[in-house]
Structures are given as C-alpha cells and as structure tokens.
C-alpha cells in the first residue's frame, strides 16, 4: 500500500466506522444506503456509483462522478471516502452532478451482482444489518 493510500485509509477508518472500513479493506469497495433505504450504491474508487435495489439486488443505474484535486486523482480510499461523505451528506446534489447511465455502461453487471452478494455475505458474517438499516 502506497503511503498516500495508507494515510487515506487512516482517515477513512476514522470517518466511516468499522463496517464500511472492513468492506473497503477486504473487498475494495463499500456500499452506502440511499436516503431512501430501498436502494443503495456500490462505491468503487475511480468508477461510477452503481445504484441497486436493496431487496432484490436489481441494478438500477450507474452514476459517473469523480473528484480530482487540480486535475490529479485522489488516493483510492480518499476517492471512496469523498463519495461516501457526499452520499451521506448531499446525496441528491451528488446524483444531480453525475452523468446517469444504464447499468453495465462501465461496471460489468455480473461483477456488480457478485459484489452485492459479497457485501451481503460480509454483513451476515459480522452480524451487521447491512444496507437494510441506515
């Protein structure tokens, strides 16, 4: 892990809590429940947000949005954390800023479905209610 990414992970851990930090460390992404708990977002570094139905797992949309610091990419954990904080704080503003695409535009749908299963499995293993409760 590069020093900037290590530092970014320290900040992430202090902000998001153990469940999401563990997901990032183990899986490389997190899941953030929407203001409406019927849907959630897979949050990857440098990739679009993938919205999905929390009951059925159906993929709903991709929201392409990025954060660059004077044209340079943030460390991966900072990119994820910036999306996490924006979704928690100003979800609709973030979504309004993003480019909307159908599922599968950039993120392989099978990959996204597997990731939904992986995050659910992680939640089950840790006894966390996961995306159902915010």
């Amino acid at each position: 892990v590069e020093p900037d990414e290590r530092r970014a992970r320290e900040l992430m851990r202090a902000v998001v809590g153990e469940r999401d930090f563990e997901a990032y460390e183990r899986l490389g992404f997190v899941s953030v429940t929407g203001r409406n708990p019927r849907y959630a977002y897979l949050v990857y570094p440098y990739r679009p947000l993938v919205a999905y139905d929390t009951e059925t797992g159906e993929l709903l949309a991709e929201y392409c949005v990025g954060f660059t610091d004077e044209g340079e990419r943030l460390p991966p954990a900072d990119d994820v954390l910036a999306k996490w904080m924006s979704l928690r704080g100003v979800e609709y503003d973030l979504i309004a800023e993003a480019n909307l695409n159908r599922p599968g535009h950039q993120v392989d749908p099978d990959h996204a479905r597997r990731d939904i299963a992986r995050i659910r499995e992680l939640d089950r293993a840790s006894g966390d209610p996961g995306v159902i409760e915010r």
């Binding site: 020093p3 900037d4 990414e5 290590r6 530092r7 970014a8 320290e10 900040l11 202090a14 902000v15 998001v16 809590g17 469940r19 999401d20 429940t33 679009p48 392409c64 949005v65 990025g66 954060f67 660059t68 610091d69 004077e70 340079e72 990419r73 943030l74 460390p75 954990a77 900072d78 954390l81 910036a82 996490w84 904080m85 924006s86 928690r88 704080g89 100003v90 503003d93 973030l94 800023e97 993003a98 480019n99 209610p129 409760e133 915010r134």
Partner: protein, 80 residues
Amino acid sequence: MKLVRMRSGHGDVLLAEGDPEVAEDEERLIEEFRRQLDRGMWAAVPLAGRARREARMVRDFTEVPRDAERVVFFPRAAGG
C-alpha cells in the same frame, strides 16, 4: 478541532487545528474554513450516528458542531 484536506499524492493534509472555544483559535479556523470554500472545496463534518456513521456537508463555519473532531475538505464532485 482539526481542518484537513484531501490531497492527491498525500492523503489528508492538516490545514489548521484549534479549540473553537478559544477566540484566537476560532478566528484561525474560520479563516482557513473560508479559504478552502473560496477555493471551491466541499466541506464535510463526520458524525457518529445511532447505528451508522454520518457526514454533514457544511457551507459556513457556524454549521460546524462546536465539538466536532474534524472537518474534511475535498474537491467538488464533477460528472465523469
């Protein structure tokens, strides 16, 4: 309270630190807060929610809880 900013190639960088109950510190924190927003940064205050951690986006220093541990500045989102 710490004001930190995400930076490419660095992770977060400490911008200012102080006790907002101390007038001199508060003045310094407010000055740095405004400087970052003037540069187009977004500002978030991490909060410990009931079941989950939360984040509150703030646009003025008066919106920052006095007991907040940190304010995180990061570049505005842009459609990709």
